[in-house]
């Protein structure tokens, strides 16, 4: 409690005195509140944006709710995996929610996001529903990829979410392709190609960056640096762990990825830059509480103290909670109620997903080819190959 008031007074010192905030969740206002990010931005070949971010109480409450939902979903996925309802690989995003929520706040659905396999929360952010997510994780027909993709292959075309890719680094050239298409059709939108600190050492990343810079593609490369590439710490894998500087001729920005407002500011800044000047790299300094995936305990290469230390000091949801409480936007109880609501929503979605049907065996052969030019391939042995000549 003492720490909270200490924090509150520290905040009071640095914010202008706009403490006019409506009380209660139901009447959250959109009047601007200016908050300073926890850390300044560091720029590489670019002037970093200002530390003061404009937000509103409504936005902060949305941030809180969204992040709580994502956190709850990932924890639930953890238990489902242990109950063997989710199989294979399951990479969880808890701890990194601020990156995805902050990014969504800065862009619209015409902008594209493409990421690697830690994609559950980004899928939610792009408009995916909990039911689609859980159904896909459990391999059901109502999943977002009809149960055929799994944890690593969430996609949402209408939301501008291009996946969901298993091979490390392969999504970055795809992201540059999305940016190329955006430039080709001149539709004033950008692509966020996300990758991790492990993928930052892939050659195809630098190839893609070269091409993006050559043709001024509106591509923003976002490195979610959670400091560990599965079990290898970043200093053991990269000679230069300053990933925002690795673009060399491409400007970069280092952002505190646990501060949702900093992420929002950086993404807005990056979008403006990309539309005018071409690619930019954002390095989000973030952290994942779980191991690399569910088969990795996450404690063999880092200490439990480190994990709990980050959870205490830098947790993104706690930061927003403190902001909300300091600005009197909602009471402690109201936030707890939001969390309970969110938990109930997740539980309901899981129950519904558990009931939903498995895919039909005939679905094995659908969507291999796009129908229309004749061939229906019915099996690896082509026993029922049907060629309908036009």
């Amino acid at each position: 409690m003492a720490q909270l008031t200490h924090r509150a007074s520290a905040l009071h010192k640095s914010i202008p005195a706009v403490l006019f905030a409506a009380r209660g969740l139901a009447t959250a206002s959109t009047s601007p509140i200016t908050v300073e990010t926890s850390l300044p931005f560091t720029g590489h070949k670019i002037d970093p944006p200002s530390r003061s971010v404009e937000t509103s109480s409504q936005e902060l409450l949305t941030f809180f709710r969204d992040m709580a939902l994502m956190r709850r979903m990932e924890i639930a996925a953890d238990s489902l995996y242990k109950a063997k309802l989710i199989r294979g690989f399951c990479h969880l995003y808890d701890g990194q929610e601020a990156v995805c929520v902050g990014m969504e706040a800065a862009i619209n659905k015409k902008d594209c996001i493409i990421t690697a396999y830690r994609d559950h929360c980004i899928f939610l952010g792009r408009g995916g529903t909990l039911l689609e997510a859980f159904a896909e994780l459990m391999g059901r027909k109502s999943g977002c990829s009809k149960g055929k993709g799994g944890s690593m292959h969430f996609y949402k075309k209408e939301g501008g979410f291009y996946g969901g890719h298993g091979i490390v680094g392969a999504q970055v050239p795809l992201g540059c392709g999305l940016a190329f298409a955006q430039k080709y059709s001149k539709d004033e939108s950008v692509t966020f190609a996300m990758y991790g600190d492990g993928a930052a050492n892939q050659g195809q990343l630098f190839e893609a960056l070269n091409m993006a810079a050559l043709w001024d593609l509106p591509a923003i490369l976002v490195c979610e640096n959670n400091h560990y590439g599965m079990g290898t710490a970043e200093w053991r894998a990269a000679k230069s762990p300053a990933y925002y500087k690795r673009g060399d001729y491409v400007p970069g920005l280092k952002v505190d990825g646990m501060d949702v407002l900093a992420v929002k500011q950086a993404c807005k800044f990056a979008k403006e830059h990309a539309l005018k000047n071409g690619p930019i790299i954002l390095e989000m300094d973030t952290y994942r509480y779980h191991g690399h995936s569910m088969s990795d305990p996450g404690s063999t290469y880092r200490t439990r103290d480190e994990i709990s230390g980050v959870r205490q000091e830098r947790d993104p949801i706690e930061r927003v909670r403190k902001l909300i409480l300091t600005h009197d936007i909602a009471t402690e109880k109201e936030l707890k109620d939001t969390e309970k609501e969110v938990r109930k929503e997740v539980d309901e979605a899981i129950a519904q997903a558990k009931e939903s049907p498995m895919p039909d065996p005939s679905e094995l052969f659908t969507n291999v080819y796009v129908k229309g030019l004749g061939t229906e391939s019915f099996g690896a042995d082509r026993k029922e190959l049907r060629t309908v000549l036009p």
């Binding site: 990829s145 993709g149 050239p173 795809l174 392709g177 004749g374 061939t375 049907r386 060629t387 309908v388």
Partner: protein, 402 residues
Amino acid sequence: MAATILHGVGATTALSSINYNNSRRSLPERKRTSLVIQCDGSLSSGLNISNNRGAKLSTNAVAQSKQENVTASTTSKPGHELLLFEALREGLEEEMERDPHVCVMGEDVGHYGGSYKVTKGLADKYGDLRVLDTPIAENSFTGMGIGAAMTGLRPIVEGMNMGFLLLAFNQISNNCGMLHYTSGGQFKIPIVIRGPGGVGRQLGAEHSQRLESYFQSIPGIQMVACSTPYNAKGLMKAAIRSDNPVILFEHVLLYNLKERIPDEEYVLSLEEAEKVRPGKHVTVLTYSRMRYHVMQAAKTLVNKGYDPEVIDIRSLKPFDLHTIGNSVKKTHRVLIVEECMRTGGIGASLTASINEHFHDYLDAPIVCLSSQDVPTPYAGVLEEWTVVQPAQIVAAVEQLCQ
């Protein structure tokens, strides 16, 4: 419920620019009368075969050779003569004209005009963004093409030599082939990946690769190999219009083939094989450059009294088992002649496939002639011996027909 197709296709092939003599026999003109009973039970009579996109197909296309009198239909214009790479360019240009989403990317395709001149002049006409010169980064520009295809563009990625596309294998296999499936049908990848491959004239091991054997297992892609200017243009257009990812295999040594092709627009079917020469003693299945070796051997065989049926399979994935099957049922003997390696090549898959489906119709085991399982040597003599030569084909047919 199979689609029943009554199909009479005979093709003339003009081989004027290679050292092969033209056939003195009168080959039947290409007729395309087909009666198609579609899978949904509707009947369509087929002189007006048009694909769903409404292109007017040439119903009486006649590929004429210079020295023959062919009874051409009075409705079709005489056609124009061009080389294979020009035919590819024509097909490409027509598609780019027709659909603004079609774009080309590859090394030296723009200002240089393409290392085999397939994209010559296109950059001047359509601009640098639509005919994109990429840096030497196959993995990432193929990935870029696939990403662009996900949003609705129709890129054509050119590998300067097919062997370079090995660097892009991850993108082709995982993203190109599988994305339609793993996204539950949300994204389609209408990309065309094309380039020359095959054994050239002493180009060395790394530049003489036949990638069709490596790509054939990738689910979700279609592979076609062109062999004449006529089918090069038709397949190029079909590949661009297809919503599936298509890999179009060209051959380094076939770019300067000359043939007369129709003036009217035509689009060939990607899944269809081409009957080059009807016969009744043995079915010879081949594709790409080996087609010409087979035809040369066929002349010798005819003089010796054999009647081989030569089919250019064209579609490497999926195989046109309908045409092949009908031929096997007629001749009961199969010889496969290919340029792929012996191990795990197209011939190996085709052998397995035919054995599985048409075992009862075979009078003799299938013989498959492929290139030797060695890196292609530089020395000319050795290189000649890595690929199948007409003499070997003649010997194989003779042995098969005993």
